[in-house]
């Protein structure tokens, strides 16, 4: 637990936190520690500590005095934010307009030398009947290999699930290969797929250790469609996000429910991947662990509140992993890596702007970095001057232009799916033909061919092919990554 003598730490806020932020942090802290809800030993003392801190920090005079006498703490990390907009200015038009904003946040500087944060990982393996044979064997081998690469401070647990979950290996660091063998080797495939069972067990394993000391992550590997427990999973993902536990998913083959898994990962700031067969499972695991090892902060979240008259139409995380973000005001963006930007693309719709104003606020918000010994808040405002002249002809900055152009591809396949769902395969066909030619024009030949094949498939089957649907979705999603790695 962070140092409790400091009032800012007690409320889990930075020294720069606004009055509103202090109030909000206080309410959140009270909700967690109030003796009526939290009967743990020590909770009452925590509750009283929070009261004391809030009494001081909420009063500007007392806060000033406290700040003046406070021990200087370690410097706030240098975290840069960069904002790009699709337009230099907003136009005074008597109808709504759209503006895109690309937000980058990156931690720079000497912080590079900071020690790696230890990981607390739980692997959740689907051992339902469909995993039988080579799939499960390859997976077992890959899991054993990756666990042996973990560091001595890292914790790892392994869960298997079908209709119910089983803890194959409880949370521990550097298990011996004998223990690994005895825990994992005997796993065989049987039963159905109930993802919630697996997630819940992993959640419990991870929660055994103090969460703020680790980068906490659940890695779910499944090839099946979970039935009836989706809502439970989503609720669990939301509590995981609040506790800084990320969930990443790897879907194998064509059966699994991509929308569900995307949502699960997006809620917690994880990543979601699709592979047709298990030959790429090792790459995925390697990549996941390497990424988590690069963490500078165990979690970064972004809260964004559109100004009155502004509506957020969509949010898409582009870095470190491309994923559409769920519609909400607070986004969990996963870990913040050292020296690597996090990038999110927002789409806003703005109501007609009255002529008399020169500058319009689009949205305000803050990044919250969770990092021991304490958290940091980086507030920001998105705004644009109002242009009297239309700035048609001024090309948008190339990075945001590229992102929007690739987002268009993703949206086209998404719309084609909606077309099919609403009984308009003809429209879907045409859309995929268009998508294919745009992809071809961008030099994405293999994806263009997939789109073309899907169009033909829809023409004869009035529906997507199961593989093609996922290939197109994750293919266009990956195009959003600047280097497409």
């Amino acid at each position: 637990m962070p140092d409790q003598t400091d009032f800012y730490n007690r409320l889990n806020i930075s020294t720069g936190a606004s009055e509103g932020a202090i109030k909000k942090a206080y309410r959140l802290a009270v909700r967690k520690t109030h003796p009526d809800v939290n009967r743990n030993e020590g909770a009452t003392q925590l509750f009283l500590n929070i009261q004391e801190a809030y009494t001081i920090l909420s009063d500007p005079n007392k806060k000033g005095a406290y700040d003046a006498g406070r021990e200087p703490h370690e410097a706030v990390p240098t975290v840069h934010t960069v904002f790009e907009y699709s337009q230099e200015t907003l136009a005074t038009v008597d109808e709504p307009q759209i503006i895109y904003s690309l937000i980058d946040v990156v931690s720079t500087q000497e912080e590079k030398e900071t020690t790696d944060l230890p990981l607390n990982i739980s692997f959740v393996l689907d051992n339902s009947t469909s995993m039988a044979g080579a799939r499960l064997e390859i997976l077992k081998a890959a899991i054993k290999e990756i666990i042996q690469k973990l560091g001595e401070d890292d914790l790892v647990s392994v869960i298997s699930f079908n209709d119910r979950a089983k803890v194959l290996m409880p949370s521990q660091s550097q298990p011996s290969s004998a223990l690994l063998d005895s825990s994992i080797n005997d796993l065989f495939a049987e039963g159905g797929t109930e993802i919630f069972q697996g997630l819940e067990a992993a959640f419990e394993e991870i929660k055994k250790k103090p969460l703020y000391d680790f980068v906490n992550h659940i890695i779910l590997i499944t090839d099946g469609h979970t039935y009836g427990d989706e809502e439970n999973c989503i609720t669990l993902a939301k509590s995981a996000a609040e506790l800084d536990i990320g969930i990443s998913g790897l879907g194998i083959g064509i059966e699994w429910n991509d929308e569900f898994l995307d949502n699960l990962c997006a809620l917690t700031g994880g990543q979601c991947r699709f592979i047709e067969e298990l030959d790429q499972v090792k790459d995925f695991l390697d990549y996941s662990i390497t990424s988590l090892k690069e963490a500078f902060s165990r979690r970064i979240s972004l809260e964004i509140i559109p100004a009155p008259g502004v509506k957020m139409l969509s949010a898409f995380r582009i870095l470190p992993e491309a994923l559409p973000l769920p519609h909400q005001e607070e986004f969990s963006l996963g870990i913040l890596k050292k020296d690597k930007p996090h990038r999110v693309l927002f789409e806003f719709m703005i109501d007609p702007i009255p002529e008399e104003i020169d500058q319009a606020v689009i949205a305000s918000g803050e990044f919250v970095l969770k990092r021991n010994p304490r958290d940091f808040t980086i507030p920001f405002t998105l705004d644009r001057p109002i242009g009297k002249e239309s700035d048609d002809g001024v090309p948008p900055p190339s990075e945001i232009f590229r992102a929007i152009s690739h987002l268009t591809f993703y949206r086209l396949q998404e719309k084609a799916q909606q077309d099919v769902a609403s009984g308009n395969p003809g429209t879907a066909f045409q859309r995929l033909i268009n998508l294919s030619s745009h992809l071809m024009a961008k030099g994405e030949e293999s994806l263009a061919k997939i789109a073309m094949n899907e169009a033909d498939y829809i023409k004869s089957h009035n529906n997507f092919s199961p593989t093609g649907k996922k290939q197109l979705k994750y293919g266009t999603m990956r195009l959003l990554l600047p280097d497409k790695t």
Partner: protein, 173 residues
């Protein structure tokens, strides 16, 4: 609102790409508005036409449709808009350009297959597929029916399986 030049979909100001067909809606860096180009993918039709067509035929023409199979230039009327199709006895509306003489029927050309529209300043040419039975494509890519799609020099326009090469003489060296 902005109207997409390709599919006539309406989008709010500030949108950069048409949400319906994916075409770019704004000026791009090279200042070109109609940047929607179907990539040249029709293989085997990349022929050099500059020597096969007598120079005389190219004079004073905005737009030429060349039929490589017969090595002939289609006889098209000198007007801003005309239709291409196949003349059939008893047809009420007849096409301006009749492809019967080139076995249009066997190649899947509809009676009223497509309209070609030339901009008044003679700089741009568009094709509109009129909901033909076998569809039209540009460079091997099917185009939507009933919407205006720009034609560029060197494109291969296929009406059903009837392939035509688009030539804009001003683009010829």
């Amino acid at each position: 609102m902005i109207t997409c030049k390709v599919c006539s979909n309406q989008e709010y100001d500030g949108v950069l790409f048409c949400g319906e067909c994916g075409s770019q809606l704004v000026h791009s860096t090279d200042g070109n508005v109609n940047t929607f180009i179907y990539p040249s993918q029709a293989r085997g039709l990349e022929i050099d036409i500059s020597n096969t067509i007598p120079k005389k035929l190219l004079e004073n023409k905005t737009f030429i449709l060349y039929y490589p199979e017969a090595e002939e230039v289609l006889n098209i009327p000198d007007q801003e808009e005309f239709t291409i199709g196949r003349f059939v006895d008893g047809q009420v509306i007849t096409p301006d350009v009749d492809l019967n003489q080139y076995e249009g029927f066997d190649k899947g050309v509809s009676r009223l297959h497509a309209t070609i529209r030339i901009s008044p300043d003679k700089t741009k040419v568009h094709v509109i597929d009129l909901g033909s039975a076998n569809g039209s494509s540009i460079n091997g890519y099917n185009i939507p029916a009933n919407s205006e799609v720009p034609l560029n020099h060197g494109d291969v326009l296929s009406l059903g399986k009837f392939n035509l090469k688009v030539i804009l003489p001003k683009e010829l060296k």
